[in-house]
């Protein structure tokens, strides 16, 4: 059947055909034809964000919990520039995102037209790929391809910039393209896999090092199986938390700058590092020359450019992590590796991770653990960026892949609330908790009203120390205690702010029984802000000072 449709209608139809049922955005002049068509869609629920960055992070939240590409929309000019931070964040954490922006009509491009900005040029370095669409016909190729690119290989954001006249151009459609899907990666090299299994079998002190790629590949279960079969103590990057339950006997938790001491010390002693879907980020490695100095390295990653980028691998395998682990598993010998496990256990006993005041529900660790005690593994845990993020990474018992949403690579304050809203929209059956700080929440506070409007089941735990905590910490430790621009002289009344935005709020500072108030707030459906004041002098410890080797941690 032949239909005559506009570029805008084609765009919406292609999104429907991709299986998109929820997306977030903000309309404006240059994207109004698409919004007009979207308003006619009975399949897609549009979530009206209050800032385009919020829309971008909502889409990220949907993509992070589902593993599927999610969509955000913005108009030209400031709409597009507001989206950029969320896109860059998705690039660094390899999150599949399709961002669609309106653009001024083709004939006006390059004239400094109203709300014109070079969205294509601006987005080149922060997208996996981007398109400036020049005709309605092109949409039929570009949109499915954008989804395929976002989801294939190492996932990432793709931007599609659509001029207004292309949105309004009507063409005849006789045939719809297949939805864009994840393309399989080339198979792992058999020789390299067999070398790798030989190295694992021969190693005396191996460590398995899991990165976010393990979660993206859906390979967490396989990674745990490999660790169990070969007796591999396992460290995780910030992005991989949840891949192996943190209370698994082989788990050494997070490595790097804010790892437990025993984790970094075990890495210091290992003779084989098996890096899987990890990219040797500076926060994970510390001083690279001193990272795992005795270790040979096996590096498995779907992105060939990650191999040998920071550390030269003895065996580098460019392949899908799931496929590689599937094939590696039968070749790896069962090995309890008692000596090495005992050594790791003794490091754990000598250099344990301490959580001071964890029994006090209003201390930083106490609050996190009390929240955890109110929830099961079905909950989604999001964070913003700062001290609270590191404390949650250290102390929350994450036990499930895709349970954990955090801005790792870009470290974007303001990520938490909108990403958590996105997660709650994508998986409404779950309770979503967002740990945030008083610095971070203000960077996308406007999305509280979106949370109210969408009635998402979101609990925001605001750890308020009236400072920019990590800045305060660095100034205290490394800048001669010259505190500058890190302490807020005025703070909003967050309870009134939340209530003003239309969501429930609880102040644990004034609760007669903070634990009971917390349980009550978490179990009540719908959005709620839970405020707790914490001590500004608390530091994220232990810590690798900037530029130091991971073995040289300070504090606690």
């Amino acid at each position: 059947m032949t239909e005559t449709l506009t570029g805008a209608q084609i765009t919406v139809r292609l999104l429907e055909r991709q299986g998109i049922r929820t997306l977030a955005g903000i309309p404006g002049g240059a994207i109004l034809p698409i919004y007009d068509a979207l308003g006619q869609s009975s399949l897609i629920h549009h979530v009206l964000a209050r800032h385009e960055q919020g829309a971008g992070f909502m889409a990220q939240g949907m993509a992070r919990v589902s593993g599927q590409p999610a969509v955000c929309l913005a108009s030209s000019g400031p709409g597009a520039t507001n989206l950029l931070t969320a896109i860059a964040d998705a690039k660094l954490d390899s999150i599949p995102l399709v961002a669609i922006t309106g653009q001024v009509p083709k004939a006006m491009i390059g004239t400094d037209a109203f709300q014109e900005v070079d969205t294509y040029g601006l987005s080149i370095p922060i997208t996996k790929h981007n398109f400036l669409v020049s005709s309605a016909e092109e949409l039929l190729e570009v949109i499915p391809r954008a989804f395929a690119i976002a989801a294939s290989g190492r996932p990432g954001p793709v931007l599609i910039d659509i001029p207004k006249d292309v949105q309004m151009q009507a063409i005849e459609i006789t045939h719809w393209p297949a939805p864009g899907e994840r393309q399989p990666a080339p198979a792992a090299d058999a020789w390299a896999l067999s070398e790798a299994s030989g190295m694992i079998n021969a190693a005396k002190r191996p460590i398995l090092y899991l990165g976010g790629g393990v979660v993206h590949a859906g390979a967490s279960g396989l990674a745990v199986k490999l660790a169990e079969k070969a007796g591999l103590p396992t460290v995780m990057t910030l992005m991989a938390l949840g891949a192996m339950p943190v209370d698994h006997p082989l788990s050494l938790g997070m490595l790097g700058m804010h790892a437990a001491r025993y984790t970094n010390l075990a890495l210091d002693e290992c003779d084989l590092l098996i890096a899987v879907g990890a990219r040797f980020d500076d926060r994970a490695t510390g001083k690279v020359a001193a990272f795992c100095p005795q270790a040979r390295i096996i590096h498995i990653d779907i992105d060939p450019a990650e191999l040998d980028k920071i550390k030269t691998a003895h065996i580098g395998i460019t392949a899908d992590v799931q496929e590689s682990l599937n094939r590696l598993l039968p070749a790896v010998a069962t090995n309890a590796r008692s000596d090495w496990r005992q050594r790791v256990d003794s490091l754990k006993a000598e250099h344990p991770f301490l959580m001071p005041d964890v029994d006090k529900p209003l201390s930083h660790f106490g609050l996190i653990r009390t929240v955890a005690a109110c929830l099961d593994d079905e909950a989604v845990i999001a964070t913003d960026v700062g001290q609270h993020q590191m404390w949650v990474a250290q102390a929350y018992p994450l036990r499930r892949p895709r349970q954990w949403l955090t801005s790792g690579g870009l470290g974007t304050m303001g990520f938490g609330v909108p990403a958590a809203i996105g997660a709650a929209l994508a998986e409404p059956q779950r309770t979503v908790v967002c740990f945030t700080g008083d610095g971070s929440i203000l960077m996308n506070i406007q999305e509280l009203v979106t949370a109210a409007e969408e009635k998402v089941n979101l609990k925001i735990v605001l750890m308020d120390n009236a400072t920019l905590g990590l800045v305060h910490q660095q100034q205290t430790l490394f800048y001669g205690e010259r505190l500058f621009a890190s302490q807020f002289k005025a703070s909003p009344d967050f309870i009134k702010v939340a209530q003003g935005f239309g969501i429930a709020a609880v102040d644990l500072d004034h609760a007669t029984n903070p634990c009971a108030a917390l349980i009550e707030a978490i179990s009540r459906p719908g959005p709620c802000l839970i405020h707790a004041s914490i001590d500004a002098e608390q530091k994220v410890y232990p810590m690798v000072p900037p530029g130091a080797a991971n073995r040289d941690m300070i504090g606690a």
Binding site: Y120, I124, H129, N130, L132, P304, A305, D308
Partner: protein
């Protein structure tokens, strides 16, 4: 450094990259942007379409430093790049252009 040594130094420290790309506006930005955002200097650029194939070929003259293998991998990842080959700096492509580059 005498002239001969200078010549040798030049030969050793440069490379020529031959990159096949899909021919549309923006491809050059994608390729060159990978270098500029890493403060990796590109000394020479040539680009022409390959007949009516919808493809173009970009030739880059670049300094050869330890980042070059990583740069080549990054170029290979671009969606519109269909192939990349590395040549020595004595490759003929830039050699006969001197007449156009006199001060």
């Amino acid at each position: 450094m005498n002239a001969t040594n200078h010549q040798e130094h030049q030969t050793l420290s440069r490379a020529v990259l031959e990159i096949d790309v899909n021919n549309h506006a923006g491809v050059m930005s994608h390729v060159v942007g990978l270098f500029s955002r890493r403060a990796y200097n590109v000394d020479g650029i040539l680009c022409l379409p390959l007949g009516d194939s919808g493809q173009s070929r970009i030739w880059l003259l670049v300094n050869e430093d330890q980042r070059l293998p990583q740069m080549i991998k990054q170029v290979e990842k671009l969606e519109d790049v269909t192939g990349i080959r590395r040549h020595n700096a004595d490759h003929a492509v830039f050699q006969n252009l001197e007449n156009f580059f006199r001060v």
